[in-house]
Structure formats: C-alpha cells, structure tokens
Symmetry: C2
C-alpha cells in the first residue's frame, strides 16, 4: 500500500547521536517523540482521569489486550466505539476531529505471567491436552500449592499454533493465537497495537530463548498477515512487530534483523532482560531497526532506563511503575525516589518535589500526602500517581527539548548525577 494510505506516519525532526526527536501522526492526533505512554491496563489509568492525563502532558495511552479480552470482553469495547471512546479519552477537537491516540499490547506478556501465575485457583493442563471448561473446572488447584508453583511452566501451555492459558480471574480456560490476538486488537480499535509474541523470563536458558524467539518471528508474520488481510482495520490501525531474544546480544540482533525485514508500521523491543544486560541487548537490536519507523521500548519506566533508551534511539516508553509505586506512597523526585509514608515527612510542608512541579498537584505537600497515606485516603494514591506520571512525562519532554537543542547528553548526565546521587 502507498504511504498515504497508512494510518500512521513518522518523521524525525532532530538527532543527537543515536537519540532522535520525531513526530508520530495517528488518525487520533499527533505524538511528539520521545514520549512516555501512561498505562491504562484495564482501559483506565489507575486513579487518573483522561482530562488529568492531558493536563499532565500525556499524548497517548496504552491498554492491555489480555485484561480487556477477559473483562469486559472486546465485543463490549467495540460496541462502545473502541478503546479511546470507551474510556473517555477520545475527545472532539474544535474542528470536529476525534482526538486521543491509543495503543494496545498483544497480551503475550500477561498470558505468560498473569494467566499462569497470579490466579487464586488455576487449572493444571499438560502439553497437547485439550480440555473443555468443565473438565478444566474439575482440575482446578490453588496456585499457591507448592506442587503447582514448581510446574509453573505447565500452566500456560505453548505450542507452535498459540498458547492455552487459564484466566487469573476465574481459572477458566482460554486460547490465544496470533490471529486471535489481532482479531481482539482490531475490536479494541487502538491506533497502534502489537504482534502476538512469546514472552520468556530473563532466566530461561539460551536454547529456550532462541526457540521462543523463532516462534515469536513466525507469530509476527502471522500477526502481520492477519492485520493486512483486514482492509478496514488496516486503514484505521497500525501494527508493531516485537523484537525478543532475552539478554543475549546475538539473539537480539537476529531477532531485530528478522522482525525489521517484515512490513511492520513500527517496532517494539520486549523487555526481557535484567538491568545490567539492557544496554547491550538494546544496542544489538536497535542498529538493525529501520531509522524511519517508530520504536517502542515495552514496559520500561525507570527514569534512568528511559534515558538510556532515548539515547539509543527509542521513541516510545510505557510502564506501570509510575502509578504502581505511587499507589504505595513512593514518588519520583529530581533527587531520587522518596517514600512519603516515612515518619520524617509528617510535617514536611514543602511541595512533593520542589524542583519538579507537576500540573494539578502543585498545591499539595509531602506532609499532606503522608497524612493521606496513613489515613488510607484514596487521594493519596491519586495525587502520588499523578505526580509520578507527570514527572516521567516531564523527564521525557525535557529529553525531547534537549535533542532539539542538541544538548541531550548534558541533559541526561545532569539528571543521572542528581537522581542517582
């Protein structure tokens, strides 16, 4: 298809080394990159309303295919007019256009983690088994049984066609294939979504990482084909391929070359590596990705890691950490994270971070939030989540400005010096 038919366009506006500042255009509005993408797992960023997200500077929101498939079900969201409209993030602009870019991940990560591990009871299944839900019901066991935990890998059963897994909500049996994941993501209707991939744990052995990566490549092709064959969806939505390969640089390079050779609209890099391996694994992958397409670093939200990603040429970042740590009383500050439930903040009436004021939270003090968390008031998690999302957005916005001004390396060095002092 010609470029003008695409639902997405991307143009690089400035470079600073391998870092780049770009403009990503979706049918629901523009995104200045690099950009932080707040996560609204279940079609809502926890504790933050869409209007507040806009005020915080959010340009795009990412929701989760696995969660929305299970609850409320993709049909409900389709009936509501798609994810952006369902969650109240879509907004009419003055010229009558619909604004509110969205993304969905493929559900791969959650199928392999939540689907298998976090339910109160789950169904034990073995490779090759086909169970009815009734049979599955009779085989429910507590996920906390030692026996089950040691057989963890058996709870989401992978074959070359797809993966069979149990719902973390009720233990019911489900199956995702690349085609099914794409079908669900078409119903959800996000501007950008991801190919279905197999997410391995960073501790899996090399041979298994390679096997899973190659399966991910086959699933990427099937995901891409399923999308391109749906002409209506293809006009409205864009698909990103995912590079896997764990912490191994050779696998990351192989995966990047393979995925880059496919006609994806953008690329994601799956975050299955430990912190110390991130730089190398990322570098090994990024160099093979086409310059002219957007790149999303999946599940990365630690401030320093985001700046590392930007330095290496990544454009988009999503992570639940900002809201998750906020709900537990920890906020980012320019001088590193602090936990407001600490006794010393009880009568500290300075702003949350005197050096980084976040729109909508400027009037609150550390002492007030310390009280709210002690008193178990909802406003504590709400305000801390807003602060953290705003903090990360400002960090990434600052990086974009610095790239445009060609001062990015200084910006990064300054931030790292203060934050990790």
């Amino acid at each position: 298809m010609s470029n003008s038919d695409k639902a997405l366009s991307f143009a690089i506006k400035a470079r600073a080394g391998t870092a780049r500042a770009g403009l990503l255009r979706t049918l629901h509005g523009d995104i200045q990159t690099p950009a932080f993408v707040p996560v609204g797992t279940k079609a809502g960023v926890k504790g933050i309303l869409p209007e507040q997200l806009r005020a915080l500077g959010a340009q795009v929101v990412l929701a989760n295919t696995y969660h929305l498939y299970l609850q409320p079900g993709e049909k409900i969201i389709e009936e509501a007019g798609g994810l952006a409209k369902f969650m109240g993030w879509e907004k009419m602009t003055e010229d009558g256009a619909k604004h509110g870019p969205t993304m969905t991940d493929s559900g791969g990560f959650q199928v392999f983690s939540l689907g298998a591990a976090f339910g109160r009871t789950i169904t034990k299944i073995a490779k090759g088994e086909e169970l009815t839900n009734e049979q599955a019901e009779n085989r429910r066991v507590s996920v906390y049984d030692e026996d089950v935990q040691t057989k963890h890998g058996q709870l989401a059963v992978i074959d070359d066609e797809g993966v069979t897994f149990t719902s973390h909500l009720d233990g019911s049996l489900h199956r995702f294939t690349p085609e099914r994941s794409i079908e669900i993501q078409h119903a959800l209707g996000a501007d950008m979504f991801f190919a279905f991939d197999e997410c391995t744990g960073p501790t899996e052995p090399y041979e298994y990482q390679k096997e899973a990566m190659r399966r991910t490549h086959r699933w990427a092709l099937r995901s891409l084909k399923a999308h391109r064959q749906n002409l209506a969806a293809n006009r409205a939505q864009s698909i990103f391929g995912i590079v896997q390969g764990g912490r191994h640089e050779d696998l990351r390079s192989e995966s990047a070359q393979e995925i880059a050779s496919m006609d994806f609209d953008g690329f994601g890099i799956g975050g299955s590596f430990s912190k110390e391996d991130m730089h190398g694994a990322l570098e090994a992958a990024v160099k093979y990705l086409p310059e002219e397409k957007p790149r999303h670093f999946l599940g990365i939200g630690e401030p320093g890691d985001i700046l590392t990603g930007i330095a290496q040429g990544m454009d988009l970042f999503d992570c639940v950490a900002a809201t998750r740590i906020g709900r537990h009383g920890t906020i980012y500050t320019k001088r590193g994270p602090i936990n407001l439930t600490n006794e010393k903040f009880k009568n500290d009436f300075t702003p949350l971070d005197p050096e980084v004021l976040v729109p909508g939270t400027e009037s609150f003090t550390r002492g007030y939030l310390s009280h709210l968390f002690r008193a178990k008031e909802m406003l504590g998690p709400i305000i801390a989540s807003m602060h953290n999302v705003g903090f990360i957005i400002q960090l990434v916005d600052g990086a974009r400005e610095a790239i445009l001004n060609d001062t990015f390396e200084q910006y990064r060095a300054d931030f790292m010096r203060d934050y990790y002092a």
Copy 2:
C-alpha cells in the same frame, strides 16, 4: 463586638415561603446559599481533588474534628497553615486573597459513634473511672465481643464535664470537653465550626434525650465562651450552636429557643431523628432560630431531605452519602438512584445521567463505570463520587435559582415526582 468585626456575615437575598436564598461571606470567600457542603472527613473529599470540587461547584468543604484530632493531630494542621491550606483547598485569587471556605464539625457525633463502636479493639471503661493509657491497654477487648456490644453505651463515658472515649484507630483513651473541642477547632482553623454537643441515637428514651439535650445546652455555653475568650480565633473563625432534641418536637422547640438565645454566629440542627419524624422536628426547631443567621442541617444528604430542609428555611447541608454510595457503584439520577454494577448496565453507553450532566464526568458512560466497578479500578469510585457530589450541588443550586425566581415549590414538586416515581 460590632458586626463589622465578625468573621462571617449573612444576608438573605430572596424568600419563597420559609425557604430562603442568601449570601454567606467568610474571610475565605463567599457562599451562595442554600449550599451543599461536600464532606472531607479526614481533610480530603474521598476521591475528589480540590480543583475538581471547584469545577463541580463546591463552595465550601466540611472536615471532621474527631478524625483530624486523632490523625494527623491538630498541631500538624495548624503548623501547615490550617485546614484549607493543609488539604490544598485554599487558593490565591487574582487579587491576592486566600480563597477556600471550610467548616469543621465538633467531633461530638464521631466520639459517640466511631469512638465507641467501630474500632477493632477498644477499652472497657465505666462511669467515673479514670485510667492511664497503660491501664486502658490492659483492658482492651474486641469490639466484636458480644459482651462488649451489649455494653456499648459504656465505651464512650459521658459526664457533665465532657466525654471519655477510645480511639477507633488504636483503642487509646482520649477525652473531649467543650473547651478541648474548641481548642482543637481553633487549631484546625476552619472559617465555621460547631459547638461540642452530645449526639444521642434516635432510639434513646425521651428522658435521656432531654437529659442529653440539656447537657448539650450547657456545653454550648461553654463552647461559646471558650471561643469568644480567644480573641485571635474569634476574629478569624465563627461558631455555630447545635440544636438537639431527637425526634421530639417539644424538645426540639426547647432546644432551639435555648440555643437561639446564645450569641452564636450561626446554628446547626443535629440530625438525630428518623426520616418520618424529620419534618415535624425540623419545623418545631426552625421557627425559633433568628432569621438573620445561617442554618446548617447536619448530616442530611438524601435529595428529598435536602429539599425538605430548604423548604423549611435551612441554608447549608453536609453529608457523606454522595461519596459513600458512589464508592459502592450507586449514582443519583433525576429518575432515582441506580446501581451501576447491575448486569443491565454492562453495554449501556449512555451518559451516567442523560438529564444531569456533571462537569468532568460527561465523557463517561454507564457501561464504562460498570466495567470499572467490576474490574475494581479506582476510577469507578472516583467518577461515581464526582457525579454524585455534582448532582447534589446542581440540585441545591437549582433550588437557589428557583427561590430567586419564586418557583421553588414547583421546582421541588417536579424533582420529587421524577426522583421518587
């Protein structure tokens, strides 16, 4: 003191029968009455930020003396600059004035209910006993013991000087007198606060209601004296006396005459009566209250009850119901309350109440909230609470408009017909 020295002024702008529309001026801004006062028990309206409250039309917020005394302690709030500033409700206006009117109740209601009933463990004390906290600690019992529940009345022990009670947080022993309640409320620094009263349950016998009422009158005088003697507080804050007397019209009349004879800046009517007795008890009291001072109906929030109160000449209303029922999935609509967790709302993509759009919640549908509540997402309680507070504010604002236009009885009749159809 001359009227110009007062921290509060009140002027009636229009009447419709006994209903009235007025202007209440505090040192932190004006309040158009009748007005609904959202409750921020622990210095925060549950789930709603100060800026959102303003957008909903809230003019004043009420917090709770008992809760704030226990946590974080009134000294912390005083050090923070007072309640309005502590909770981020105080705002600088363009001309440099501080805006954000606040009220505190006296703690009486909570001392007698929460202090006695809801703690996980409490200390058993008998009339006349004086315990150290250490002794109290040794006498801790579970509040759920049948033995304790039947001796409920012994857990907050009243004498003519004050009341000794146990904290619902940790079972520690505390004592409030009228003078101590006023001292705490001076530290909290709200524009308007209440005299310390004894709150009886509506089922207490007549003789006890009378005894408690007369004690409340003595405590009212002591509260008033404690306030007027503190010249600085007296210049900054105003004190409201509370009429008690349960459901008995003769006691309500006696109490109103007695409290009205004292130099209070305004008056509260305590809500210790059942729904069917409300109208008579209110009427028996209101006729003895001076026309020119504001009247607050304590703890009344049911839409019909608010309109009854307005019709009878009440000016201010506070209630936790709007946020409490909202947190559990129930929203007010013009056609009566609905519970959004009901199956039938799953794919109902109409606004929360198509007839009453509330600022900040217009973009959300019943189906979306139904999903949020099922998925246990914080946004469910947040949006439902906003809707309900906005709904009640619009109801009361509409009543004010109707009084000004002399159409109040029609307004009330129309609302009651639709809401209770």
